[in-house]
Symmetry: C2
C-alpha cells in the first residue's frame, strides 16, 4: 500500500463543495471517480478539510492510500485525464504512510476576493464578491489587526458545527488593493466552519461604516454570534495553501510582505 | 429619437457570440431583450463589431436609437436589471445622432490571455489559452515587432470573410509577462475576422520554435493563408476598448508603456 499526497486546484462554481453528498456533485466524488477509472485500488481518500459549495481552491490537499504501479509523479496526469477541467491535480508525490492531509496540517492560507466597483465585472462574477461601497482604509487597517492573533472565534463560526475548542490563532490578515479589487489574505493555524467568510463580512461591513465600534469591541468578550457581520458569499473564497512543515511556514511568512495577488481581477 | 452609447462587458463563455443567430443565445439578443423588457422603443442597435462565440469583452461598445424618458446615465441600471449577470452595461451616455459604434470607431484594443503552465489552472480555463511550451523571449520580441505596422493581413483572416481591403495598421503588439501568464496586447486601427487569434497563434508557435523563419519571412510576401500559424482559441480573447477620438488614442498610447494587465491569472 502506498500513500500519495495530491495538491489540487478547482473551480468550485458548479460543485456542491468538497465532500461527497447524495444527489450532488462534489470535488471528492470526481476525484474518486478519476481514481476508479484509472483502475487504482483506493483504500482511503482524506482531504485537508471541506470547502463549501462555490468555494475555490488553488492548493487544496488530499492523501490517497492506494495500490497501483503508476509512478507517484505520473498519478497527476492519470487523474487529470479522467477529471473535468474544472478540477486539476497540480502535484502528486508519494509520502510517508502516516501522513494525513487533514491531521498533519499545521497551517492554512486562504484568500478572499472582493471587487468594489459599482457595477460587477462579468468575468469575475463567480470568483469575487461585488461589494460596491467605499472602504475606509484606516478602519480596514484597524479591524484586520484587531481580529488577528489568538482568540476564541466562537462568534465567527456557523451554528451547528461541533469542535472541541473554538480558539484559533490567525498569524495575519493582510488586505491587498489593486485599484478597485481587494484581496484579503488569511494565514492561521486553523479555521472554524465559515470563519473566513464571517471574518470577511465583518471586516468589510466595519470598513464601510456599517458596523458600530461597540459591536466590534465586544466581539471577543461575549458569546453572541449576532455581534459578527454577515457571512461573505462562498464564491470569493479560495483555499490557497495547506502547510505541513515549519520551514515552509517560515518561508511563506517572510515572503508574504511581498506576496503576489493570487489573482488580479477586472 | 435619442442615440445612446453603451459600453458593455461580458463573459462570452456561454454565448454564440455578439451577433443574433437562430437557435442560439447571443449578447446582442440579450441586450435587445433587456431593452424590450424596459419598454424602451428601439429603432436600431449597432455594435462596434462582432465577437465570436467564447470571446469576452471588457469594453465592447454599441449605440441604440431609442424613444424613452429614462435619463441616459440611468439606462445602464435599467438594462442591467434585466440582463443576465454574464453581461453588464458599464456606461450609458447620450451621444450625437450621427454617432455609430461601428462606423465612428477609429481604433480598437484587444488583449489575448495565455497561460504557460504545464497543467492548466481551472479558474482560468474559460479565460485563457493554456500553451504549455517554453517561449523564447528574443523570438517573441522579434515576431511582435515584425507583425506590427501597416501590412496586408490577408493571410491573417479566416476564409469566407468579405472586406474591401485586407490592409490594416497595428500600432503595436505588446506582450506582458506575469510569471507563467502572458497577455498579448493588440492596438490597431481595425482587425479582420479572426485576425487577433491568428496573429496570436502565429506569435506563440514562432516563439516556441514551432514555425520556421522562412515561413515568417514570406508571410507578407505571398497570399497564402497556410503561412500563418494556428488560430488561437476564442476563450483567451478580450475586446478591451474601442476608440472614438484622437485624444483618447494618444492618452492610451502614452500610458501603454505602463499598462496594467487587464487581468492577472492563477
Amino acid at each position: 500500500m502506498r500513500n500519495v499526497r495530491l495538491d489540487i486546484a478547482y473551480d468550485g462554481t458548479d460543485y456542491a463543495g468538497w465532500q461527497i453528498q447524495k444527489n450532488a456533485n462534489s470535488i471528492e466524488s470526481e476525484l474518486r471517480n478519476a481514481i476508479l477509472k484509472n483502475n487504482i485500488e483506493l483504500f482511503k481518500l482524506t482531504g485537508s478539510g471541506r470547502t463549501d459549495a462555490g468555494v475555490h481552491a488553488n492548493g487544496q490537499t488530499a492523501n490517497i492510500l492506494i495500490n497501483s504501479t503508476i509512478p507517484d509523479d505520473r498519478i497527476k496526469f492519470a487523474l487529470n485525464n479522467k477529471l473535468p477541467d474544472a478540477i486539476r491535480v497540480l502535484h502528486s508525490e508519494e509520502v510517508d504512510l502516516n501522513f494525513s492531509a487533514r491531521y498533519s496540517a499545521l497551517a492554512k492560507y486562504y484568500s478572499y476576493h472582493v471587487n468594489l466597483d459599482k457595477i460587477a465585472n462579468p468575468i469575475m462574477r463567480n470568483y469575487s464578491w461585488n461589494f460596491p461601497y467605499s472602504i475606509d482604509k484606516d478602519r480596514l487597517d484597524y479591524i484586520t489587526h484587531y481580529l488577528s492573533g489568538r482568540h476564541d472565534f466562537y462568534n465567527f463560526m456557523s451554528t451547528g458545527s461541533k469542535v472541541k475548542t473554538t480558539t484559533r490563532e490567525i498569524y495575519f490578515i493582510k488586505p491587498k488593493f489593486n485599484n478597485n479589487d481587494l484581496v484579503i489574505n488569511y494565514f492561521g493555524n486553523g479555521f472554524l466552519y465559515n470563519m473566513v467568510r464571517i471574518l470577511t463580512g465583518t471586516i468589510l461591513e466595519y470598513s464601510a461604516g456599517k458596523l458600530s465600534q461597540d459591536r466590534i469591541d465586544n466581539i471577543f468578550k461575549s458569546k453572541n454570534r449576532k455581534l459578527a457581520g454577515i457571512t461573505a458569499p462562498a464564491k470569493g473564497l479560495f483555499l490557497e495553501k495547506v502547510f505541513y512543515n515549519f520551514n515552509e511556514i517560515e518561508d511563506f511568512w517572510q515572503r508574504f510582505l511581498d506576496i503576489p495577488k493570487s489573482f488580479q481581477l477586472k
